[in-house]
Amino acid sequence: MAMIEQIGAHTMQGVEDLGRFSRFCSRGLISSFRTLFNPRAYPLIWAQMNAIGVRSVPVIMITGAFVGMVLAIQAYDQLAGMGLEERLGVLINIAVVKELGPVLAAVMLAGRVGGALTAELGTMNVTEQISAVESMGVDPIRYLVAPRMLACLILTPLLIIYADFMGIAGGYLVSVIQLKINSAAYIDYSAQSVELWDILTGAMKGIFFGGAMAIISCYKGFTCREGAQGVGQACTEAFVGSFVCILAINFFYAIVIKSVYTTFWPIKSLL
């Protein structure tokens, strides 16, 4: 009996939490949409864009560069064995712009930005600053969540482009300087195989990754328990939640994009 009671209690708690999270998401999205058309909120969005986006550029660029460089090192032997080393750029650039650039940039952002958002909002929650906002007749979701969410939605795709660029540059430099691959051939093959579609769909993932990361991090901050341990636990849960969500979104996004691609260009994928 006790076990059934416990399962029931856990299920009800899970459903309640899901309901709360869904409500938070819908309020966050509606508030963000409204904030987008409210010029008085632009300074808030601007400040968040600086904190979230501008300060993340160096770490995102370093991540991108190392991804491109390590791909060149790892893939060279296999391709050189078949005499296809000049096509190394195809492999590196496709992998970087379609998958590794967006996913690793988003994971890096979830750690850097998501953790900071949860810690900041969690501390505000614990010290009653969120209640203070509410008590002054200001919607805390509109004032605190919407600017952060908009900043993440707008800037994650742009940061992914930075990661892509550095990945491509890192791969090129290692291939040409260290592995002595012909530069013109490397660029030529790469240009033939990487399409604008690949770059755009890769970067557009950022909107979903950024949105998921922002809403999960803000939710965890808003609902964190009291004390230093509560804030710490909320940060961990926010990162793990964002990470899993990014990977899951990436999978479903790949299925959708592949279907769209084969619908519009049915023969091209066979070539």
Partner: protein, 290 residues
């Protein structure tokens, strides 16, 4: 103790409010009418529901059952958007100040005004901030960040922020907690001064009896989610209920001291003769392992 209140009996009326968290009752069918222009002090032991009660008055918490009225208008079921308008008539002074630590003192005080209207005349705003800070004796601290202020100074700035929109009601959540006796008295004097100068209605949650006697027109004592005593300072001082007397005199009852004084360790596996009595089938079932 329970009496019926009507929605027009006070500026804030809490009517038959019950609040439960995960099945645990924190407020149990409480009714209270706050008289306008007076200072009502809510006292009680930690965890008795007094802060929860205060949060219901501004609908930062919504009741499980019952209703809350502000100036005769029901507010507990209102949408957040409509509540925003109602909340502008309130000033809330939080226990730890709850100043926004990323903003300066100046920005903290202008925050509620900026959210209400677009500020065009910044000279006028400078004057207003100066005036509000002067009222709490903190003029000159405009460009300090909260982290560089002491606990008492933070509470005074929080008070200045609470009166920024000239509220009709100021709610104080444990305003003297964590302060030394001198700083506590400064806060008490400020509450009295604001009461006289602004003619506001004040509700103060505290367990500092010295402060309660000094500022209260009316003292309401909470115990286990219910109102135990309600009257002026003299009434509370002479209340015959031992729980009230223990609280106001800061004495602990013998029953509460018993676990501290008890020696040795009681093992939970130990059986008692009453566990085996047929009149207690549940315990008997447990004892026989069924």
């Amino acid at each position: 103790m329970h009496k019926d209140v009507h929605k027009d009996d006070g500026i804030i009326v809490v009517q038959n409010v019950t609040k439960q968290y995960s099945g645990r009752t924190v407020l149990d069918n409480v009714s209270l009418a706050v008289e306008p222009g007076k200072t009502t002090v809510i006292i009680g032991k930690s965890g008795c529901g007094k802060t929860v009660m205060m949060k219901h008055m501004i609908v930062l918490e919504r009741p499980t059952e019952g209703q809350v009225f502000f100036k005769g208008q029901r507010i507990d079921h209102q949408h957040e958007r409509d509540l925003a308008e109602v909340r502008r008539h309130y000033g809330f002074c939080f226990q730890m100040g709850a100043l926004f630590d990323s903003l300066t003192v100046y920005e903290n005080i202008t925050f509620p005004i900026q959210q209400k209207q677009k500020i065009t005349d910044w000279n006028k705003m400078d004057e207003l901030v100066k005036q509000k800070l002067a009222m709490v004796g903190m003029d000159g601290f405009q460009f300090y960040f909260p982290a560089s202020l002491s606990g008492g100074q933070q509470k005074r700035v929080a008070l200045a922020r609470a009166i920024a929109l000239n509220p009709e009601v100021i709610l104080y959540d444990e305003p003297t907690t964590g302060l030394d006796p001198v700083r506590s008295d400064i806060i008490n004097e400020l509450i009295l001064k604001l009461q006289e100068a602004l003619k506001v209605t004040s509700v103060v949650v505290t367990h500092d009896m010295k402060s309660a006697y000094k500022i209260a027109d009316r003292i309401v004592m909470f115990h286990e989610g219910r109102i135990l005593a309600d009257g002026d300072a003299d009434y509370i001082r002479n209340h015959p209920n031992p729980i009230v007397q223990e609280f106001i005199n800061g004495q602990v009852s013998e029953s509460e001291l018993a676990p501290i004084r008890m020696g040795g360790t009681r093992f939970e596996t130990q059986f008692h003769p009453e566990d085996f009595k047929p009149s207690n089938p549940k315990k008997q079932g447990q004892a026989t392992g069924s």
